[in-house]
Point group: C2
Chain length 240, copies 2
């Protein structure tokens, strides 16, 4: 247990866009799936936590990709637990192609919450979790805090049935999907997203009426707000 876990994925037809390359959401989904599998392997997966009325909450996520693999390519996601502080832990990832060449990496921050109080639990009081820590630095810059966005364009989005996951809130990759759907479609052929960073601040729930705000700065900046103007999620997409 502990150490580096290794998980293989294949880019399926449903994971690709019209360029036949894997979408940013599907890459993120594979990486987060590997996180779930590796937590399971180490005895602190969602099923064990849920029996203890606890759950993992994704707080920040950064993904870098040199290229987007195409349909039917295999990906290998390696993952390990990095630092652990009282209320937050880092999980790191490396993504390689079938030839073993590294083509991407990611860093995620997680909190463990009590499902009744919704308050974070002290990770350092969990000896199982501390045992899983692996001494290898994060492969890319950690996900920083994204500042408030000054939108040039705003699209409304009501949270629908298919947005909501087993946690009864909008799935992390759905926020990214709403954002990416606002970009000019030619960007997906003419540009390549070098890095994306997501900050998850508050949950979006079924029926919530949201605004997806876009600022076209050096990076593409996004903010998802509720009707009170509270930011639920922010993102920065950097292009090559």
């Amino acid at each position: 247990m502990g150490g580096i876990g290794k998980y293989i994925y294949r880019v399926e037809p449903r994971d690709v866009d019209f360029t036949r390359q894997v979408t940013l959401m599907a890459v993120g989904d594979n990486i987060l799936h590997a996180a779930g599998e590796d937590a399971d392997r180490n005895g602190f997966g969602l099923r064990v936590l849920s029996a203890n009325n606890a759950s993992w909450v994704l707080s920040r996520f950064a993904v870098e990709m040199e290229r987007r693999p195409v349909q039917y390519e295999k990906l290998c996601v390696e993952t390990w637990v990095g630092e652990v502080s009282r209320l937050m832990t880092t999980r790191n990832f490396r993504v390689s192609d079938e030839n073993g060449k590294q083509i991407g990496a990611a860093v995620s921050y997680w909190a463990m919450i009590d499902l009744t109080s919704r308050q974070p639990l002290d990770l350092r009081s969990n000896p199982e979790y501390l045992k899983a820590v692996y001494e290898e630095p994060s492969p890319i810059e950690k996900p920083g805090r994204i500042a408030r966005v000054n939108p040039v364009r705003i699209e409304p989005h009501r949270v629908v049935y298919s947005d909501v996951d087993f946690n009864r809130h909008a799935n992390s990759m759905k926020y990214l999907e709403w954002m990416v759907d606002m970009l000019p479609v030619e960007w997906h052929t003419e540009r390549a997203c070098r890095r994306y960073t997501l900050n998850f601040m508050h949950e979006a729930r079924y029926g919530d009426q949201l605004e997806v705000c876009f600022e076209d700065a050096t990076a593409s900046l996004f903010e998802i707000r509720n009707t009170e103007g509270v930011a639920l999620c922010r993102a920065s997409l950097e292009w090559k």
Copy 2:
């Protein structure tokens, strides 16, 4: 080759809704994925067809489920080629759970088209395809033609980046998603969809402005129309 192909899936966290049961879309996606794998196995998969400037087009699809399996359950999809007429072929499916108990079945109609002319090709002139036919009847009633819908509710939908697949049109399961997202959310806990039938009539492309029309009859009836009022897709969802 030929005969029955068998494909195993696991219900992943991204496949379930807030009830932790697999969505109707994810079941359909697994079934259609098995169709793709089995076509590959028999030498008439999309990659071979695409090298010949041809492709499969899904025309009708019916799925019946006794129950919706939950997160982490394994599913086995068995599939075989049924009848072949000049312009249309049937592919059949059985879905079983981990204990080998049959919990669902499906029937799909497909045409093979030339990608330049968009015209259907004569399936009976393809000896490879005829060899794959397996003499076992369809496990459920075939997908019938759904009549024009008289909507009680209409929701607009613009086709966005994430709706569009490698074929550059909206993915089949996306039509179903837009429909299911219009249903009262309690239906997903209080009712169970016994059978759904889809008719695919015309493609929806990126940027198309559509109307999703809902008629609450004995079954839930849906029609997706473009701005000219042309029906692109119709569906019927029957409930227990």
